[in-house]
Each structure stands twice: as structure tokens, then as C-alpha cells.
Amino acid sequence: MTVTVYDIVPGDVVAPAPARPRVLLVGTALVTAAVLAVFAGLIGVYANQRAATIAGGDEWIPGGAGTIPLTPASVMFVTLVMSSIVVQWAHYAIVRDDRRNAYIAFGLAAVLAAAFINQAAFLFGEMGWVIADSVQAVLIYAIAGGQLAMFAVAVVFLALMALRAFGGQITSRDHEAISAAALFWHASVLVYAVVWTAVYQIK
């Protein structure tokens, strides 16, 4: 009897990536959880103070103290959602060794990040709160400023990983670092979504 042996692995298939611990990704997830806990604490105090003020018969945004404009905040939200999509595009491209698309996506992410920071500076100027004058100002600037700081860290993290990707250190076989940076970026967008809802939308 003749036994035919079939080679089921095509010759052009690249060897699988080596098993390796996802140390950076897990560590980033834990740090992200810690940062989310910070915002949970801040927004919890905000909600508590707001509820107490309203329960006392006062308005949360007293006349003449400052404003919470929704339109610029919403534009910022749209900007961040777009940036999240673009960062995921960059991740997708890196995973497939598509460097051209990765360059485009990283470039767009940089533009959107700059736009967000610029819009945030404009918004803070528009609001007109004086931090020494009101409880609202302390809370709003702590939360919004904290989110901006988190986003800045996400930008630096992604920029460093992008440079490593451009240098060929992050490829389809080892893209954990870019996954970690993308995770932190998405988390900063998620935090803004909560801030937008709790602070800018509900007021």
C-alpha cells in the first residue's frame, strides 16, 4: 500500500511568533486601571458635591461664576473619537507590517492630538472659572486638567512607540508595545467620554 504524505504547511508561511510574556501590555492595563480609579474618585466627588448643592436648593452653575460650554467640548469629543480610530488603524497596520499605512495613521494621530490640546486650551479659556472662587472650579479643573494630563501621557507613550516602530523595533511578530500604547490612548478617550457626559453635557 502506498502512503501519501501531504505537507500541510506551505513553504512561504513565516514561523509563528515566539511565545513571550505580555509583560508590557499587562502592566499598562494595570496602570490604566489605576488611572481610571483616579478619575472614578474625582468624578465621584464631583457628582456628590453637585447633588448636595442641588439638594440644598441652589444651582450647580451659579450665575456669573463661569460657564461650561458644550459645543467646543463636543468638538473635542469628536476629535478624540477620530483619534481613537486612527490609532487603531496604526495598530492594524503595524500588525500587518504595512509601514505606509502606519506612517499615515501615526501622522493623523499627531494632528488630531495637537488639535485636541489646542481645543482644550481654548475651552479652558472660555469657561472663565476662577479656581479660588468656587467649588465648581476646583472640581472642573481637577477633572478636565487631569484628563488632559492623561491624554498628554498617552501622546508621549504613542510617540515613543511610533518612533520604535519606524526604527523597525516593533513589527508584526512583536507588536505588544504598540498594543499597550493604543490601550492607554483608548482609555484616555474613554475618560474624556465620561468627563464630557458628567461635566459638559449634564452640567
Binding site: P18, R22, V23, V26, L30, A132
Partner: protein, 530 residues
């Protein structure tokens, strides 16, 4: 054999000491990535804060004996000392000391060459030390809650943010080690119980310390710019008090359960009974220790809420379960009454007493909230952490300091520690039951409880003696020519398969694990009984 998807071969092996750094030994100290050295640095400085905190507690106890007869502290600084003692015990001693022990032991237990992110672990230590030093500086210049110096209080608040962030960073390193650097075959189910308890504790620290940091950040902003949210200095403490009370205080005791559950089987010479149940109990205790939601400054009625009461009542169950499993393990083996076992048993008993006191604390009709019952309950919990840490250090000393600690002192300190803990805390519980308020200055001392306060002061003095005696035993040099055995106890887990102290890289060959007690050789009868 089960292979995990996170073999440690690819871990960043940076344990090797840096060679010929420009700044010599100082450079090696500051820039070290060796997990054992980082852990020892955490342990050393946290023990210093332990002594300072217990001295402060002794002064407060003396002050509390009588409002008129004893006046050891100036009334202007009483509230500062009161807050410094609590901050020092929890953030200066208990958390960093347990983190330090974990930095040394956890990588060895899980079969890793190093801790995850060793540079971040180093940063966590220096950040914590700098923050703690600045907290002390803040107090010394008249800041802190109740202080009169506004800039000193700003410094105190900012420094505490640094302390909380650094401890959370250290916890990230330990938890990541447990999650990703386990040896081949070591599933999470097979993780040694101390490493598992640090995984649980670290996760709870990662979720709750940032909430404390958020409170501190708000307080800092408010205090620096107008004080419109919280008001004057003295009002800061109620915003932060949740981190030093029930249920959050239990975060310092989660690793104690792991130490107890790791030590008992070794000295019983038997396999831990119902390993999975013990793990579940530790996990449940971790969940019940999450206290960031219980901020009574924002919700004063919370103490009467069913959830708060349920957390307080339920916390006693996991502790009871771990101790019961330990007792069953002891019964099934042939126990050796060595120092680590005695200290672990005492730590477990004190923790059981603490959680029982906590369960009574939340029973609303008794109206114990706001009395020294809470103080006594906190002290019992911290003392359980102290004794648990000592049990861990006595047990893992060959890996931590490279020698076996004296057994005689340990055997003496265990019963003395139990007596000291009971004397220091139980009178405060009794005084609380007699309505002594948990307030400072001591002018609020209730008549008729002076004798109880005196006994508490004596107990705190004994605690201080126990701490100093253990430190003396820890730092006493080994007799010349003494060889440290790799495994002096007949340990069951991987750390005992390597040298004492561990060489850089920890293991000459990567261990492969097929069992939760890889080094345990059971008898044929025990094997058939399983």
C-alpha cells in the same frame, strides 16, 4: 504538564548588578534593578517608620490616660501627631513593608528571574521614600491636618500623592510578575498562596490608592487656591480618613493570610487542605477590603447602609476559613513549633480578632462608630500585619537577608506579640464600648476609662519593644563561618529550590511546575489519602 502562555524565558533579565557604575556603590543602590535589593530597601526604611509610628502611638496613648494628669504633647501639635501616627503606620510602614517582602519573595515563588519592570520597582521605592520624607518635612514645618503652616500643608498633600502613586506603581510591578512571569506549568491555580495574596492585595491597592491620590489632589488644589471646597487644614483629615479605617484598613492584612497559609503547611509537614478554598477565601477578603466607596466624609449616613454593614460582618468569614484550613492542615501533619509557625499563628489570631472587632463595629444599634472601638480595631489590623510581616521575614530570611534568623527570639516574640497586641487594642475597644470618642485632643477622654487607657499605653509600649527586638534579631550579623542552607525549613514552593540568598537571575535552570507544592514530598499514605 500544563504550560502557561507566559514563560519567563523572555522576561527582561536585568538582575545582574550593574558593573563599575560611575558612582560606585551609590550608583548601584540608586539604579539597581535587582528585585531583592529593592525589596530590602523597602523593608529597611518601612521598619524605621514603624518604630516612629509606634512611638507616636505611645505618646498619644499616654496623653489619653487622663486629660489633666498627663500632658506629654503640646496641644497645638496633638492633632498632627494623631494623623502622623495613622499615616505612618499604613503608608509609611505596613504597605511598603509588605510590598518589600513581596519584591523579594514573589519572583522567587513564581519561578521568575526578576520582578516585572525592575526599573519601575526601583522608581517606586525612591518615589515612596522621597514622598515619605517630604510628608515628615511637611509635619515638621507645621503643616498637615491641624497644622498652622499653609505651605507645609501643601507640601504634605503633594507628598502624600507621591507616596500613594509610588506604592501603586510598586503594586503594578508585583501583580504583573504574578500574572506574566510564572514558571512553565504554574497556572494561577498553582500559584503559592503568598504570591497569590500579593496578587489580590496588589490589585486592591491599584484600585484604591489612586482614589486616595484623587482625594489628595483635590485637597491640594483646593487648599492652595482659596480653600473653598474643604475649608481649613483641620477639615482635610475627614476627607482622607476612609483610607485608615474600616473596611479599607484590611488592605494591609490581605498578605497576612497568604503568609499564614504558606507557612503552616511547611511546619505541619503536610499539604495545604482545600487549596482552592484557601485561594477563594483570600480573594474574598480582598474584595471585602475595597473601601474607596465608603467615604463617610461625603456620605455620613453610609455607616447605616446595608452594604457597609455586610462588608464589615462578612470580612470575618474568609479569615476564619483560612485559619480553620490551617488548623486542619496542622492536625493532619506533624507540626514543628518553629518561630515562623508561632508568629504566623499569632498573626492569624490577631487578624481574626481584628475582623471580629470590625464585625461588631458596624452593628448600628451599638453606636460604636466614632468611638475608640474603631481605633482599637485599626490597631489590631495593623498589628496583625506587623506580626504577619515578622512571620514572613522569619520564614524567608534566608532569601531576604541571606541567613536564618535566631529561633530563640522569634519563639519568645510570638507570645509576647500576642499579649502586646491584645493589651494595646482591647482596652481601646472596651473604652469605645464605654463611649470614649475617637477624637484628639485628649480633652475628650471619658471619665472612668483612665485605667483602660493606661493598659493600652502599656500594651503599645510592649508592641514597641517587640518591634525593636525583632529588628535587632533581623540586623544581628550571623556568626562567622555560618553557612546558610538553601532550604532550612523543608519548604514546599520554588523559592527553596534556589540558593540563599538567591544569585542574580534567581534560578540556574528554569523550574517546571506540575503541582502547587512542587518541592513537597508526601508520604505514600498522604498521597493515597488525597
Amino acid at each position: 504538564m500544563t504550560i502557561t502562555d507566559t514563560p519567563p524565558e523572555a522576561a527582561t533579565a536585568v538582575d545582574a548588578e550593574p558593573e563599575a557604575l560611575p558612582f560606585g556603590e551609590l550608583g548601584a543602590l540608586v539604579g539597581t534593578g535587582e528585585h531583592a535589593r529593592i525589596g530590602r530597601m523597602f523593608l529597611g526604611f518601612s521598619l524605621f517608620f514603624a518604630v516612629a509610628s509606634f512611638v507616636a502611638q505611645l505618646l498619644l496613648d499616654l496623653e489619653r490616660i487622663s486629660a489633666d494628669a498627663v500632658d506629654v504633647l503640646d496641644v497645638d501639635i496633638l492633632f498632627q501627631v494623631f494623623t502622623a501616627q495613622r499615616v505612618g503606620l499604613v503608608l509609611g510602614f505596613a504597605l511598603p513593608a509588605l510590598l518589600g517582602l513581596a519584591m523579594v519573595v514573589v519572583p522567587l515563588q513564581v519561578g521568575a528571574r526578576t520582578v516585572a519592570f525592575p526599573r519601575a520597582a526601583n522608581l517606586a521605592f525612591w518615589g515612596w521614600l522621597l514622598g515619605a520624607a517630604l510628608v515628615v518635612a511637611g509635619y515638621l514645618v507645621g503643616g498637615g491636618p491641624g497644622g498652622t503652616d499653609l505651605r507645609g500643608t501643601d507640601l504634605w498633600l503633594a507628598a502624600l500623592v507621591l507616596v500613594a502613586a509610588s506604592l501603586a506603581l510598586g503594586a503594578v510591578c508585583v501583580v504583573t510578575t504574578v500574572l506574566t512571569l510564572r514558571a512553565p506549568g504554574m497556572t494561577l491555580r498553582r500559584t503559592p498562596l503568598f504570591a497569590f495574596s500579593m496578587f489580590v492585595a496588589g490589585s486592591v491597592w491599584i484600585l484604591t490608592l489612586p482614589v486616595l491620590a484623587a482625594n489628595l489632589l483635590l485637597a491640594y488644589l483646593d487648599h492652595r487656591h482659596g480653600q473653598v471646597l474643604f475649608g481649613v487644614n483641620a477639615n482635610l483629615w475627614p476627607q482622607l480618613q476612609w483610607a485608615f479605617g474600616q473596611p479599607q484598613i484590611y488592605v494591609v492584612a490581605i498578605p497576612v493570610l497568604g503568609i499564614v497559609a504558606d507557612v503552616i503547611p511547611v511546619f505541619a509537614g503536610a499539604r495545604q487542605r482545600l487549596y482552592g478554598v484557601a485561594m477563594s477565601a483570600i480573594g474574598a477578603f480582598g474584595v471585602l477590603a475595597i473601601g474607596a466607596w465608603a467615604q463617610t466624609a461625603y456620605a455620613p449616613d453610609l455607616v447605616g447602609e446595608p452594604l457597609f454593614i455586610a462588608f464589615g460582618l462578612a470580612a470575618v468569614l474568609p479569615v476564619l476559613l483560612v485559619i480553620a484550613l490551617g488548623a486542619e492542615t496542622l492536625r493532619s501533619g506533624r507540626p514543628r513549633t518553629d518561630g515562623p509557625l508561632l508568629l504566623a499563628l499569632v498573626a492569624g489570631l490577631v487578624l481574626l480578632l481584628a475582623t471580629a472587632a470590625g464585625a461588631v463595629h458596624v452593628i448600628e444599634p451599638l453606636e460604636l462608630v466614632g468611638t475608640t472601638w474603631g481605633t482599637g480595631q485599626m490597631e489590631l489590623t495593623v498589628l496583625a500585619a506587623v506580626l504577619g510581616l515578622f512571620a514572613g521575614l522569619q520564614y524567608w530570611a534566608p532569601k531576604v537577608v541571606g541567613r536564618v534568623l535566631g529561633e530563640g527570639p522569634a519563639k519568645g516574640l510570638a507570645p509576647l506579640g500576642l499579649v502586646a497586641a491584645v493589651l494595646a487594642a482591647v482596652p481601646l475597644l472596651a473604652a469605645g464600648a464605654l463611649d470614649q470618642p475617637d477624637t484628639i485632643p485628649a480633652g475628650a477622654v471619658r471619665d472612668g476609662v483612665e485605667a483602660l487607657n493606661l493598659v493600652a499605653a502599656v500594651g503599645t509600649g510592649l508592641v514597641l519593644l517587640v518591634v525593636l527586638a525583632f529588628i535587632a534579631n533581623l540586623v544581628r550579623p550571623a556568626p562567622a563561618g555560618t553557612d546558610t542552607p538553601d532550604d532550612p525549613w523543608g519548604g514546599h514552593t520554588l523559592e527553596w529550590s534556589t540558593t540563599s540568598p538567591p544569585a542574580p537571575g534567581n534560578f540556574a535552570e528554569l523550574p517546571v511546575v506540575t503541582d502547587e507544592r512542587p518541592l513537597f514530598s508526601e508520604t505514600a499514605e498522604e498521597a493515597s489519602a488525597r
